[in-house]
Amino acid sequence: MTDDIFFAGIADLNERLRKKEFSTVELVRAFAERLAKFGPRYNALALSLTEVAVKRAKEVDDEFKRDRLRGPLQGIPFGAKDLLAFAGHPTTWGAKPYAAQVLDDTATVLKKLDKTGSVLIGKLSMVELAGGGGYRTAAASLFGPGLNPWDVTCWSGGSSSGSGSAVAAGLVPFALGSETSGSIITPSAFCGVTGLRPTYGLVSRHGAMALSWTMDKVGPMCRSAEDCGLVLQTIAGSDSKDPGSADKSFYYTPQYSRQFSDLKIGFAPDDMGWADAAARPAFQAAMQVVRDTGVQFVEVSLPDLPYGPMADVIIGAEEASVFETLISGGKVNDLADPSQAAALRANLEIPATEYLKAMRIRSLLKQKFRELFAGVDVLIAPARYQTAPKITEPLDGPDPVPIPVPSSPGMRGLIQAGNLAGIPALSLPCGFAGNLPVALQLAGPAFTENTLLALGREFQNRTDWHKRRPPLLS
């Protein structure tokens, strides 16, 4: 096996398995050993599952031998953010108070992937409690700061830190992450991988750590939009164990997506002014690539709503309820980031009326987004306006070089707004600023994942940013 295997797409790997170029055991062992060797160097590995994975791979090989084909994910190794329960093995949620936690059920998404013959080779690191309470340093994790494979002095992003860096470094073909307010989009953008935040309720969260019941989503982080579609098709669907389940399935059918010439893409010109100067050329060139697909660009602005305070209050109140025992019992003080512990303590004091006010404004937000999407099909914006910060920098510090700001906020609030609205978003690598990746974000109305993926796939047919490989630590 050559190194190319570690950066191959899902369909390619599956085809080679079916052609018997290599066995599932060989593929799984190669990835598992690579993850175990290099994962710790990026602080990406929470738990190696090589032994369990190889045992499962033998069963999958038996199925291949009997021509029991289960689809494109059969035989494909993957990693999962350590907030997903895998029965009988540690599930730490990235936090010291849960370092010894072993749960007795397996997350629905992991069961679904297992059923198709995909093989879990490791749990991947994350920001403690998926960032619950808010964190101010990259080191807010049981596993240390997530290191970016493109520059190990920089952060891999959070809270799905290990998922981002493991996919980027070719340690897993794909990974599962989760997002409450940016935790898939951010590490995907910082690490140069393709990440999909599904519509709220499309993917079961049963067996995933709860942070905010009304905002948590589980989604794929992959090498391409194509791979995201294949993984989403497997993990999506109704689940009676998830009260937020939308009772909908997803079939990846980009071939039936609308003509690009019919698509209206909403953008905010001031976004370029918000972006780092070094990243602007990449964003502008990428926007032009999207225009060249034949779509129509339409100038829009996000509804003027207090997204930040709404998200703070809704997530804050819900996470305080989820972790009430941890907070009240004092174990919260064992978190790596003292500001996070302080915020969780304070969140216990959020008044019910304030939570309800935020949820009432959220109703308004949903209505405003319906109106916005009456005029456009997709919103486009930089996924992150800056590249990954240094791991030594506080995440709430000032910009290194303050520059004049545009007159409007552009789409700066899209991550929070999109999460509050429960709509899907796709992060697409679109170039570099210096040695660090930058990415575009596509967002659309609820359950329009196929439109986003079709446009993302077309973008990736015209570019090769998603195929770039970071230098691997020797």
């Binding site: 998926a130 809270s159 910009d399 700066r412 609030g413």
Partner: protein, 70 residues
Amino acid sequence: MNGKITRRQLAGVATGSAVVALGVVKVIAQAPAAGLDFDKAARESHRENSGTLAKFEIPMSLEPAFQFKA
């Protein structure tokens, strides 16, 4: 532009927020450096959120997004 205000801080103002959205990273007001009081900063952040939401007028008939579905 006021040279003391950073783009990142202004972005927070522009979205009516103290949140930068690095995951769920919060910009805690007057972010404490070493030795400062994180509890006080967290409470101050709450007060700011509370003030912003209180000023936002909504019709009495508007119901909360319970049973949230996208």
